[in-house]
Each structure stands twice: as structure tokens, then as C-alpha cells.
Symmetry: C2
Amino acid sequence: MAPADDACTESRIAALLDRARGLTGMRVGELATSLGVHSGGDAVRTKGTPGAILELALGATGGSSKVHDFPELGVELKTIPVDLRGVPVESTYVCTLSLGDAEMQEWEDSWVRAKLALVLFVPLVAGDGEPWPERRIAEPVLWSPTREQDDVLRSDFDDVVGLIGVGRIEELTAHRGRWLQVRPKAAHGRVRTVAWGSEGEAIATIPRGFYLRTRFTGAILGDPRAMPD
Amino acid sequence: MAPADDACTESRIAALLDRARGLTGMRVGELATSLGVHSGGDAVRTKGTPGAILELALGATGGSSKVHDFPELGVELKTIPVDLRGVPVESTYVCTLSLGDAEMQEWEDSWVRAKLALVLFVPLVAGDGEPWPERRIAEPVLWSPTREQDDVLRSDFDDVVGLIGVGRIEELTAHRGRWLQVRPKAAHGRVRTVAWGSEGEAIATIPRGFYLRTRFTGAILGDPRAMPD
DNA sequence: TAGGATCCACTGGTGGATCCGT
DNA sequence: ACGGATCCACCAGTGGATCCTA
């Protein structure tokens, strides 16, 4: 689960970071064009496109339903929208929370921990209301949680799965969690998934995802070892 | 589970049958054109299209994941390819067989029995190798199993779920069943679903579907009360 | 300002069946 | 002849995230 650390993998990760640095200063629309991707038309509505563009540009091979964007390197790629000062303007989606088997889940073996073990953050600088093709790629940050950070994330995680494990999913709001929070994740608010109530009964509820709070990603972009509130 | 039989439903079913009769003699391609459906280009490869055309033409509203094509009438629509003599050239797909809970399934409440409770067969006459737009719609047959036919189908069904229930799914071949058989049902042969072995262990296996044998559909097209081999 | 709601692209699985080698 | 393999259309669900109102 820890990032692979043999010499070959290390050098390939370094090469990936170099490639990401090489994109610094480009507009996302330019990058899209150079990749042969159509970036015209309605630009505001396509929320996920810049992330897909960066995956293409850096050669992410994970595709869907894989744990990491770069499976062989154990690296997760995350674009993160920042303002002109470099401060994140949004929380960062990590992955889906499986509600059906929450009581089985341990932090050590969790999907969310695997995702966060080694993350390449690529900040995208957006002026106010600027469509994504105009956003500029900023200096990337390769981050792996310190032991202290991992402990806080584990605590947030345990709180969440503990609640679900005893069937109190209704108390699972985005207020919980110091750095890692849980929020709804559904295209139309009409999707339902199954969870288990306190009496063991099946209940239909909206799917949820793990998100990193803005205050946390903002701090680690400045100092990867930061311990914000 | 039995077809609804109040007077209003009966008259609506009769109207449906009349509409189907009104299509007799048309080519499927003509019908598609009159519905504004594109039927040009590669015609041989689109196996499911004629079925969808007839659903449209007759106003089927079931859509996907519904039990029947006409939920309010309890009617299932099946196109069936026949030769110039009116003899079926293929078996008829009924529905998917759920492998995960086979031991729970009873014929009385089964999906396959619900589908077969009241079927509108629409034969499509195909010359040898003729693409579907050239096929002609023949006289439709509205069929509901007689008590004797239902008993045979139940027997075939019980044999199948019995085998699966004791974890002997490997013995479940298309050789079994007098009229109702089970065959693989997967787009590429690479899809897998879960079943339970004789020791209760989970095993990955290919999805299966129920099919009516050609000899059975051939007989009931001629005489709905037939009892073929 | 941040918690809850929502948007688009993509794709795997399902429903419509027929193909085709032995 | 028929048992096993396969084909296309369609859509709900997932992964990429940001929007938006109280």
C-alpha cells in the first residue's frame, strides 16, 4: 500500500514529476489542442475535462475502475483549482465511499488511503469565472502524507466508518472530519445505493464520496508537511 | 402473475393484437422508415434492431429493467425469425437467469414465468441470409401457456434451479430442458457474474439466459396448445 | 463559505437477439 | 441442428470534478 520505492520506480516517478513541471505556465486549452482534443464550445459545463486532459498529457494509464492513475507507480493525479494567489478554491474529490461494507473497512487497506498514499497535485490557476481552457497550469506538487498527517486522516476515516458501521448514516454530514470529509456524490440527486441501518435493515441512500477540505490541500501546496487546523 | 383479465384490459390486449395484425406483410425496413428510424448502412450486424422497431411500432412502454414490454397489459413482445414456410430458424431468448439466488427461486414467482405468461409472437419472415430490413412481418400469435404447457416449463425450470441450488452449475448445459433451456448470454464471452459452488464458495461464471427451443416455438406458432417433444 | 447538489464523458452490463463451428 | 459464442444499442452508474444557495 505504501508507494513502491525501488530505484527504478523512484526514477520513473521523478520523470513524471519533471514532465508535469514542463507543463507549468501553459493554458489548459493550449494543452488540449496540442493533444488533438477539442476544447471549444461550452467550456464551463464540462467540469471533469481539465482533469482528463492532464491525465492524457502525463500518460495516465489507469482508466476507470483502477486504484491509481499510474498503477505501476502508485501515483494518483489530482488537478486542483486555485486562485491567483495559489489558494485552492474548492475541496478535492478523492474517491467513492462504499456504504455497503463499511464495518469491514480498515484505514490501512482502504481505497481512500491507497489513493492518498502518493498524489501529484497539479494546480490550475483560474481567474474569477474563467472557463477552463483559459486556466494556467502551475507548479505541480508531489505529496505523500507524513506519519502525523496519516494519523489525522485515519482518525477522520475511523469516525466515518464507525458511524456507518452502527447504522447511523444520517449523522454522516460534511461537518465531520478535520481534513477528510464525506459529501454526496451523485449526478442528479436521484441515484440511490444501499446501506444498512442500526437494526440491520437495508436502506436506500445517496452515494457519498471522500473529499479533502480546502484548508488541508491549501496548506500542503505551500508545505507538504503542514498540519493545518 | 396470471394475465390480468378484467374487461378493460382484455379489450386493450385485443386492440394491441389488432395493431400487430395491421403490420402483417410490411417489410421491417419500411416500418422503420415510417417511424423515422434509420435503417440503412450495416444491417446484418444489428441483431437486436428489428425487435426494437416492433416495440416502437406497437407502443411498448416497458423500457429496460421492466418485467414486461407492456407493463399494464402484462404482455411480452417477441419477434421470431421464421423461414418461408413459417418455421422458426432460431431459439427465442426469454430473459436472464439470476445465478446468485437460484436456491430462492420458485417457478410460480419467477421472472421467466412472468415473461411467458402472455406473449405476443411476431414472426419475421427471412429469406436465406436476408438482412433484417427486407424481412416481412407475418401474422402475429398471442400465446398464453396452457396448464399442461406450464407444467412442462416448470419442470424444466426446476431442473435448472435445482442444479444451481446445489452448486453444480458446471452441469448446466444447453442440453437440459425439454422446451426451456439455458445458454450463455454475454457480449464478448469475457463478462463474469457470481454464483455459489457446492461448498458455498463464490465462483465467477458466465451469465446465462433462458431460451425457448425452436421445436417448441415452432409448434405453438401452428397450434398454441401444442405439446411437441 | 462550505455543505449539499449537480454537470459531462465514458463505459460496463443488460436487453434486443442472431451467428457459426462442429 | 444446436450448443456455445457473439453483435449492437442503450443507459445507468462511475470517475472526472465544480456549481450554487442559504
